[in-house]
Symmetry: C2
Subunit: 335 residues, 2 copies
């Protein structure tokens, strides 16, 4: 049964754990440093589908089915599924998970979705509202690029701060069997707006939200950055990560020695020409559900904060002169 700890943080009292997870990725991600950790890498980014949107749905289907398979479960063993993505009206999730026939609660947290869906699943399980839940998200470079920016065929020059939307998906199965790594606390993010307007500099738009959530978590739990093996954000990329470290330094908090970011980890900056790093729901979705979960399960990581960040904008809001508000949700996970 969850209990509020301080102003913003909720402690999970039962032994609620991530019993299984799967991260799948596209061919560019499969040429990056984490290639060997993904559960599947697809050489064909269409995944045999007729559109990029359908391909992205298939990423979710495959990640969800692989997570179920690894746990020895069937879809009917799951009481509720939390999922979301970047596409208009979250269609990757609807069409990707439709065939599973699991009660469904669609989430919208932009690139923070992996953390948002996992914190929902953890709270539902801990409260008794369900016995077992799933969290799923995805993104696809081609479906995101044409929806948020420009037609792929246009071949536009990317600005130096632009991030590369990851083609990938993550899925996690959460229950209170006591197995797997345990979710101890969650902190729900606030919409945080530093009035950044450059849709090609998402890291800068999201860093203040990550700083706000991390600061509030540390206050609520009376802990310090070096109490953790890793403070993993996603997806601030190279520029947003630097900014996060600077914002927190101004607040008297140094996370530099324990911080990493999924958007920095998934691509090789020198070799893969991704400018600001990776982004998209599928970035921390695939990185957390494969590499990070494997590090936790093998106890190479024992005590981490996972802080996924999202930029809550649309092309329409940017065209109408709006700034890009960010949000960041946090989970404290121990192995």
């Amino acid at each position: 049964m969850p209990v509020r700890s301080g102003k913003r943080t909720i402690s999970i009292i039962g032994r609620v754990g991530i019993v299984s997870s799967a991260g799948v990725a596209g061919h560019k991600e499969g040429e990056g440093p984490l290639a060997s950790y993904f559960d599947s890498v697809y050489s064909d980014d269409m995944l045999g589908q007729k559109s990029w949107e359908k391909a992205e749905s298939r990423l979710q289907t495959n990640a969800a089915q692989e997570a179920l398979r690894k746990a020895g479960l069937q879809p009917y063993d799951i009481d509720v599924i939390f999922a979301g993505d970047l596409l208009n009206q979250c269609i990757s999730s609807t069409f990707g998970l439709r065939s599973l026939e699991i009660p469904y609660l669609g989430q919208y947290g932009a690139c923070s979705t992996m953390a948002q869906t996992m914190l929902m699943a953890a709270l539902f399980v801990d409260s008794g509202a369900c016995n077992r839940a799933m969290a799923v998200t995805s993104s696809h470079f081609c479906s995101a690029e044409r929806q948020f920016r420009l037609p792929i065929e246009y071949g536009g020059q990317r600005t130096p701060t632009a991030q590369w939307t990851v083609t990938g998906a993550g899925a996690a199965v959460i229950d209170d069997s006591g197995n797997g790594c345990i979710i101890k606390d969650v902190t729900i993010g606030k919409i945080t707006d530093y009035k950044i307007k450059d849709a090609n500099n998402m890291g800068a738009a999201m860093a203040p939200a990550a700083a706000d959530t991390i600061l509030n978590y540390m206050i609520d739990t009376n802990t310090k950055p070096y109490d953790y093996d890793l403070i993993l954000t996603g997806d601030l990329g190279f520029i947003g990560s630097e900014l996060l470290i600077k914002i927190l330094q101004r607040e008297g908090m140094d996370i530099s020695m324990v911080h990493n970011d999924c958007g920095k980890m998934i691509f090789d900056r020198e070799r893969q020409d991704v400018h600001g790093g990776g982004s998209g729901c599928g970035c921390c979705g695939s990185v957390f559900c494969s590499y990070i979960m494997q590090q936790l399960n093998s106890h190479k990581l024992k005590n981490i904060l996972f802080v996924a960040t999202g930029a809550l904008m649309s092309p329409t809001s940017s065209q109408q002169g709006e700034s890009i508000p960010g949000i960041a949700h946090l989970l404290h996970i121990v192995s």
Copy 2:
């Protein structure tokens, strides 16, 4: 603390209630049968803003502030806000609720959002994850029409089955003080697909989802339609409502004498030329949070099921030949 009752239904054990709510609406809705029940009716559908999208955000701001005012609360009295809407990347909610600075969990349930956000709020409060939560949603005829269908200026002929997106918003404050009408049970919907492809016949696409959720709720709770004063769906409109009654009749269940639908109630079918009736998150948002809540608070209604339905499609999914899956979430509410 929530407890599972049967396969799909979750019973809320504490006295979790809707302590305050507000429904606001545009000028056309203000000429309909429910005009006198809305907390505000705006003669200017732009609400003094520069775009329809910003006007829709303002609907959420106003509904949320009015619900807080009626409860004598400030934004910092709310631990978490659940909100969503129909616009791409749910920007009405982000920009409408940004200034409140309340921890935020974005929801996407299309027109089922009022029920989805309220069931989330109720479960979070009952579990102890928060003390007080809000549920908010909106829609706007003009922002929806140009995003989902055609430019308003085009003046296209509407098909006879088309529904009219409501300009309106609803907001509800939920806590466990024991005040207000009480949320007893919730049933989470499944993605239900009867392969309807006509984006101008949403009622038909959503009726099977409503039938599935109602049937499962009745099985889980061992109750019958006539145990309730009202089974209120939203927003099936005229065509979807008839279809729902027929689908349930085939399953041996007659709801015809206790059924009504927010999409049927909000407009005058003869006088207002709305074809299939009202639709949009703001339809059941505004109707439930004003008229229905007033009927509950004055004990004219004592025991109802509120079953909001959503169509989980986008223009892109329809253009790519996909069908329109529906979903329906249910709350059992007593006064």
